[in-house]
Amino acid sequence: MTLVIGAIAKDGIVFGSDSQVQFWSGVDVKRLGEIKIFKIEIPKKQIKFLVSGAGSISDIQWGLTSLYQHFLVNFEEINPNDITPDFVREIAERAIFILHQKYNIQRYREMGINIGDPEEPKFFSSLFLVGTILPSKEQLLLRILPNGRSELSENYITIGSGSAYAELLMKLVGYSKEEEWKKVALKIYKVIEAAESVDPNVGGPIHIAVLKENNEIKILSEDEIEEIWERVYKDEKRD
C-alpha cells in the first residue's frame, strides 16, 4: 500500500512518495516515516538512478539488488556516451525478469502449479519505478512490471494503491514537463498530500527526491518544500 509519483521536469527528474508501510504481525500494523525512494549509483560511469517500488520490502530489496548488479556488470566496458535509453531499459527489464523467473516460474514448477492458473500465488509481485538522466542528458522514466516488462513514460508515472487518485490530481494541478524541478516537486507534494487525505493506505510524512541535471541527488526537507511554496508559487500568484 503506497503512492509513488515519478515525473520528468525541464531540468531533472522528481520522485515523491508517502511513507506508510503496512505489514502483518499477527494483526495488520502500519508504520510511518519509512523511506521508499532509493538511489543506485554507478560512480565510474557518472550515472545515477532514482528507484522506488510498490510491494513487499523483500521484493524491493531484491529488485534494487538485481538492478544495481545488472547495471554494474553491463556498464563495465561501455563508453558512457553509448548508454542509450533502449540499453538501460533492456537491462532493467532483465534484472526484474530474473526475479520473476526465480520466485514465480521456478517455484510454480516445484509446486506443480500451472502458469496462468487463476489460483497461482504471486511470490514476486512488486512494481518498480526507475528514473535517470543519461550521460547524453536524455531523461528516462520507466515503470517495470513484476514480470519484467516495462512501460516508458514521457511525462509522469504513478504506482501503488493511491495511483488512481494521483493520476487525476496530477491533471488537476496542471503538471507540465516543461516546468522547473522545483515546481514539479511542489505539485507532486500537493498531490500526495491530497491523496493522503482520502486514501487510508497512503500516509505519513511526504518524501521528495530530485535527480538534477548535474547528476546530484537530494531529498527535500519539509522546510525546503515550504520555501519553494513561498518563493516560487506564491510569488507567481502575486505577479
Binding site: 524491493i60 534494487l64 539488488t65 544495481y68 527535500l220
Partner: protein, 72 residues
Amino acid sequence: MKREIDIERLIKPKVIQPRWIRGSVFIRPRKIKVIAPEKLKLMPMKEFLIKPPKEKSIIEEFEKLLREIERV
C-alpha cells in the same frame, strides 16, 4: 532443360542480418549480460539510501521563531 529445385535452400533460407539498410546504419542490439538468480548477492537497503537533509536543530528553530517575533 528443367532446372532442379534446390529443396534444401527452400527449407533453410540463408538469412543474412543486414548491417546497412538503404543507406541507414543498422545497429545490432548490444548483448545484455544477465546474472543467474542464484549468483545475485542480496544487498542491504542502506546501500541504496539517499542521505536525508540535515534537520534544523532546536536552537536554530528557536532563533527562527525569535526573528519572526521581532519582525512582527
